[in-house]
Amino acid sequence: MKTLYVIFIAASAVFLVLSPIGLLIGISIHDLQSDVQKRQAELLTIEEKIEEQKQTLQTLADKKEAQEKDIFALRKDLRTQQEVLQAQQVQIDKGNALSQQLWPSLLRDMAASAMTNERMKSLLVSHGYK
């Protein structure tokens, strides 16, 4: 007889104790679910941002590669032009040396010789010197 009371009271006590605990856990789960959803959204956002950053970085790397190729071609062109410039300078120096040093003196001596040497005179005349 008493056994039934004890069972009834004990079971009711367990039910009464567990009910608020279950309620508290339920509230906690609700908060956790909200937080998890919020964090998942944040994770998705940052993953999209990372993807954009990777694309930007790839674009920059492509641009850098193209620019490096352009610079290489430009430097090659510049080297060629500088070599041409140097060759021009050598030619100009050669002309200057001829016109300022050898040629006036040589022409003077040849002209002096042409005064008495008919063949020398002919040579000079054949080249337009009278």
Binding site: L32, Q67, S113
Partner: protein, 157 residues
Amino acid sequence: MNPPINPPAARANSPLGWLLAAVAVGLALLASTLVFALDVQRTVLQDRQAQLVRAYSLREAESKRLAASTVTAESELDRLNQTYEDGKSDLTRVTEARSKREPLVEQSTSLQVKVESVIVDLVTLAKSDRDAQMIVTRYHIHQDASGLPVSDPAEKK
């Protein structure tokens, strides 16, 4: 008929008493199971939350690293752009200088051709003319491997 001596005891012994006790036990068992299930779900959610926190932290670090790399790459690209602009400006300068020198080069080449032509004839004349021979000797004029006359001004007396 007299009433029962112990009515509650009699009720407790009744089928209704057993039913109430069984319902109470059933509810207690249900509550226990529910609490256990909720606790398991909470643990799962807490694990998921911890995973998300770790994942976000890793992604955040990666994003910062990528942002730093982007800044470096942009700065490097700016430097390359500047180098390219400098190179273009150098090329323009050199090309202009080359164009400006063209007339001088033509003038020099023309003079050289003219002088070489005179000297070739002088060298030929020197083979049979004493005066020409003296001039050729004085100016150390000789023919190089290509047959063109050359003179070393340093040797000239």
